[in-house]
């Protein structure tokens, strides 16, 4: 091999990487650190920044609204996980070969393709206290209507239910693909050993669906922590801020109608980032292990 070919091969990857890396650094990586820095300042986004040390974080500790958001984030994280068994259930239901099943699968996947803005509007309407389908149903059962989105007790659960609709569709498609790749010989062997139903699912099928489950967990956690759209559209954080999540509260503070508080918003974002970092590290660690095995 000539030396020019060798040096070309040393240089080539960096030339291919340069545009992508530059874009990514300026718009994604640097801003993470900038936000951390901004969180140490009081800043209205226009004038001068004033260094305040950890004051923003100290304020957070006493901020009732911060705890409400944090608590709601935890509820989101826990309940969003229901999308995984629900998605698996639908995938098992649809994993047949009757005529037209392909169309059924695509139509079941529908909610994931449409925007969360549309999902939010659809569900606000579903919950409407005077004519929403939920209350039409409750009335026909002789129950009093519930104003889900105006009631502090129910509002977060109502929004999560809306979010679970597309998320379940997403998990379903992951499992459908996974089920396609399940080794039929192992299933047959299981049948010969008299494994059926739950036993088969638990001991033979689920272990083979591990990669699908892993991806489903990853996307569901991210989806739960990114829950901004639905909150913004369905309730705008209300009533009285009871449906806020960190992602929404951060936006609200940074662009508050009482003056932009970029520093305080950034501090909230840093907390959210640290929560996410736990998952990111876990994901990278698993990827690293997989890479080593190859």
């Amino acid at each position: 091999m000539t030396t020019s070919a060798l040096s070309q091969r040393k240089l080539a990857p960096w030339l291919f990487l340069a545009p992508g890396i530059l874009f990514f650094l300026f718009y994604v990586i640097f801003p993470i650190f900038e936000s951390m820095q901004i969180s140490l300042y009081a800043w209205d986004g226009l004038g001068d920044k004033t260094y305040v040390g950890f004051d923003n974080y100290v304020e957070l500790v006493d901020d009732e609204a911060f705890y409400t958001s944090l608590k709601n984030n935890v509820i989101w994280l826990v309940l969003y996980m229901l999308a995984i068994p629900a998605g698996l259930f639908i995938a098992l239901f649809l994993n047949q070969t009757v005529t037209g099943i392909r169309l059924y699968k695509s139509l079941f996947f529908f909610p994931f393709v449409i925007s969360q803005v549309v999902v939010g509007l659809v569900f606000s309407w579903f919950y409407d206290p005077s004519f929403g389908l939920l209350n039409v149903g409750l009335k026909s059962l002789g129950l009093d209507p519930i104003a889900v989105l105006a009631d502090e007790r129910f509002v977060t659960y109502g929004i999560i239910a809306a979010g679970l609709w597309p998320q379940t569709a997403y998990c379903m498609i992951l499992y459908l693909t996974g089920l396609n790749a399940v080794d039929p010989e192992q299933i047959e062997a299981g049948r010969l050993d008299n494994a059926r139903g739950w036993k088969m699912l638990w001991y033979v099928v689920l272990p083979q669906l591990k990669p699908a489950t892993f991806i489903a967990i990853v996307v569901t956690v991210i989806g739960a922590l990114r829950s901004f759209d639905l909150v913004s559209i369905m309730t705008d954080g209300g009533p009285w801020g009871s449906s806020r999540v960190l992602a929404f509260y951060m936006y609200e503070q940074a662009f508050s109608e009482y003056g932009f508080r970029m520093g305080y918003g950034a501090a909230i974002a840093v907390v959210l980032f640290l929560i996410m970092l736990v998952y990111i590290s876990g994901f990278l660690f698993k990827m690293y292990k997989d890479e080593q095995e190859r």
């Binding site: 070919a5 080539a12 990857p13 960096w14 291919f16 990487l17 545009p19 992508g20 890396i21 874009f23 718009y27 994604v28 640097f30 801003p31 993470i32 936000s35 098992l92 994993n95 047949q96 070969t97 009757v98 059924y104 139509l107 996947f109 529908f110 393709v113 449409i114 925007s115 803005v117 549309v118 659809v122 309407w125 579903f126 389908l133 498609i173 992951l174 499992y175 693909t177 996974g178 790749a181 299933i187 033979v204 990669p211 699908a212 892993f214 991806i215 991210i222 901004f228 913004s232 992602a247 936006y251 918003g265 950034a266 840093v270 959210l272 980032f273 990111i280 994901f283 990278l284 690293y288």
Partner: protein
């Protein structure tokens, strides 16, 4: 196959399954069906509270013309295309190159660069919000379609790189080795050997990114304002504020907003699912 194929069961169970399918689908899509029906209702139906019954008249043309004539929804849709198409092209182009570099060359720092893209792809948007808005302001691109598209290109490059790199890694290495032995330059290997093989990956990523960007709401509200630049997601939100209780119009607007990604999904279904389920199978 699991569960056991329904054909092996007796006819009663088969019939049960075949009736359960459409009922389940109907329940699953009930909210959407209601929206579609409402989008053709008359204002009279809405005031009379006929939301869930059969529409008394079908005002398909009236309602849909009304939203296009009386609101800037056409503009919003156009803006969405103006943001989405360049983003798809840009992110796919950048990630073809980054994916190629990371999959083919075993240079030092490879895994670090790769992990940077993967990790960045998962960060919550809020930690980027203030600096990205500031950067866009400084570039003079605040409230422009370009400013929004540039950010989307950068951010989506993370996910696209992960996708492309794994795809190229699964290609037979011998092809590249053989070309090298022939003395083909690296750029020509990329262009003539690898790129033609990446067509399915490019198709899959394109539909996926199209849907993601079309449906983006957060960045649209952070980086743009007003009907001249806002995409349909943000537009729908502000229209919803104007159309208080005009649910037939809200529904028609929602259907219009949902149509392009839905059409994309049905046209390119195979690619879409291939893209989405990357990694779900070993």
């Amino acid at each position: 196959m699991f569960p056991a194929p329904i054909e092996r069961q007796n006819t009663a169970i088969q019939t049960l399954y075949k009736t359960a399918l459409p009922i389940a689908l109907l329940l699953w899509l009930l909210p959407l069906i209601a929206v579609a029906l409402t989008s053709v209702r008359s204002a009279g139906d809405i005031t009379a509270g006929n939301y869930w019954g059969w529409p008394t008249t079908f005002n398909l043309i009236e309602n849909y013309t009304a939203i296009f004539e009386n609101t800037p929804i056409g503009k919003y849709i156009l803006n969405s295309f103006k943001v989405t198409i360049p983003t798809v092209a840009g992110a796919v182009a950048l990630s073809c190159m980054t994916g190629f570099a990371l999959a083919v060359y075993g240079f030092r720092g490879n895994i670090l660069v790769f992990f940077m893209f993967v990790a960045g792809n998962f960060v919550p948007f809020q930690i980027l919000m203030v600096p990205v808005r500031d950067l866009t302001l400084q570039l003079g691109l605040y409230n422009t379609v370009t400013g929004l598209a540039l950010f989307h290109i950068a951010f989506q490059t993370g996910f696209c790189t992960l996708f492309m790199r794994n795809f190229i890694r699964a290609l037979p290495r011998e092809l590249i080795e053989a070309a090298r032995v022939e003395g083909v330059s690296e750029i020509r290997i990329f262009w003539y050997v690898v790129l033609p093989l990446m067509k399915p990956a490019i198709a899959a990523l394109s539909v996926l990114i199209f849907t993601f960007i079309w449906n983006d709401y957060f960045w649209a509200t952070v980086l743009t304002q007003g009907a001249d630049t806002q995409p349909i997601t943000a537009g729908l939100y502000s229209l919803n504020g104007q159309w208080v209780a005009a649910w037939h119009l809200v529904s028609a607007g929602s259907i219009v907003a949902a149509l392009p990604p839905v059409a994309m999904f049905f046209l390119m279904q195979r690619h879409f699912i291939a893209g989405l389920t990357l990694g779900a199978v070993k």
